[in-house]
Symmetry: C2
DNA sequence: AATGTACATGTACATAAGTACAGGAACGGG
DNA sequence: CCCGTTCCTGTACTTATGTACATGTACATT
């Protein structure tokens, strides 16, 4: 379970395997699933080329293992967010704070995008790509109806893509208003007055 | 401008170039930007390998040309949708119908996803990936305020990813309700009674 | 018809990547 | 200390791909 660097030559299959998968996730997060090569993983993990082929019967299996790892991480983040949805209706502040943590985390954002990209072009990865989305919908469905839960999940997927592309998200206020609108809930009273525009007319 | 198959050996640079770009777009749409190879393009376009290297100084330039073509197509679809946004506030039916045409078109959906994927991992493609999103936001901003326009654009990006992954979109009714909620507008009166759930409580 | 130019084709070569494997090193048990 | 097993390493081979280029072909010009 330690994260110390591997000693070359030393026998430690479990840790070596983890180091290889971890290096693979970093490459995928940085450059996308298509950029994964044995040699890049070996260089990044500090192991010999042969080690990257020993634990996985093909590069596709290695990629799959790395994507599974990323999906796992996302699932854990999601589980950590879940409790905060309980107060979504009364005060969404905490739930939004947790969502922002995710959108502010480049690794999480790019991991999610890598999963979606994989699911698009690799049928066997579709289920994995949809896992976190389905999980989120299920969690939200405990508190709001399913159609709205799906709408919020879809919006957050879009927000993920935008965050990945633009390097930033729409901001706490905008996201709060959007999620509340999708949840069919009124905005909670705020201490600082909001510049809400109820009419929907353009401002300028 | 004709689309008839190319005659091998015949000299027709302009059409050949278009055929190559078109073949490249089909490969990108089908298997993603990373799957593009000169040989795949040559086979798909029915031209010699050498022809695919003649018009573009590198495979990256060919990919870029193909992605530009796809962005062009999306821009045109978007321009076709624009007029229908004028009645968004009074009756969104037509606008939603146009959006559904896009979400129901696998080529358009996968083209959009390919652009986003490229923008994620290739900085020089970011601007292109954001073009249609920005265009849509500008169009919507003519009728609703900018924050809501952005929210709708982000939701539609998410809907695009979902459509690509699941093979279907949430459905006309759900999309209509979602877009209206994001626009800050009430649902228009319907002939068939809607099963609207104003409270936001889960149904079951 | 002759001919030069621009285009098209296929081959050839260099590089990169996946994979196999032979040899060596570490570790556990005698 | 010896030895067998398991793991680690690096090299070598095969295939795929990008790219260069020599050759061939169509077509415009004369």
């Amino acid at each position: 379970m330690t994260d110390a660097p591997l000693t070359p030559g030393k026998r430690d299959p479990a840790r070596r395997r983890r180091a290889i998968i971890h290096a693979a996730t970093e490459i995928i997060v940085a450059d996308g699933p298509a950029a994964l090569t044995h040699r890049a993983v070996a260089a990044h993990a500090g192991v010999a080329l042969g080690s990257t082929t020993q634990y996985f019967s093909s590069i596709d299996e290695l990629r799959e293992a790395a994507l599974n790892q990323l999906a796992e991480e996302i699932d854990e983040s999601l589980a950590a967010i879940e409790p905060f949805f309980k107060t979504l209706k009364t005060d969404p502040t905490d739930a939004i704070t947790e969502l922002l943590k995710y959108l502010d985390d480049p690794r999480a954002v790019h991991a999610d995008i890598a999963l979606m990209s994989s699911g698009i072009n690799t049928p066997s990865m579709q289920a994995l790509a949809l896992r976190w989305s389905n999980h989120l919908i299920d969690m939200l469905s405990e508190h709001i109806d399913r159609e709205r839960a799906e709408a919020i999940a879809i919006y957050l997927d879009g927000a993920t893509m935008h965050a990945g592309l633009r390097g930033h998200h729409p901001g706490r206020e905008a996201i709060t208003r959007t999620v509340m609108a999708l949840a069919g809930l009124p905005m909670p009273p705020t201490t600082t007055p909001t510049t809400e525009n109820v009419s929907g007319e353009p401002k300028e």
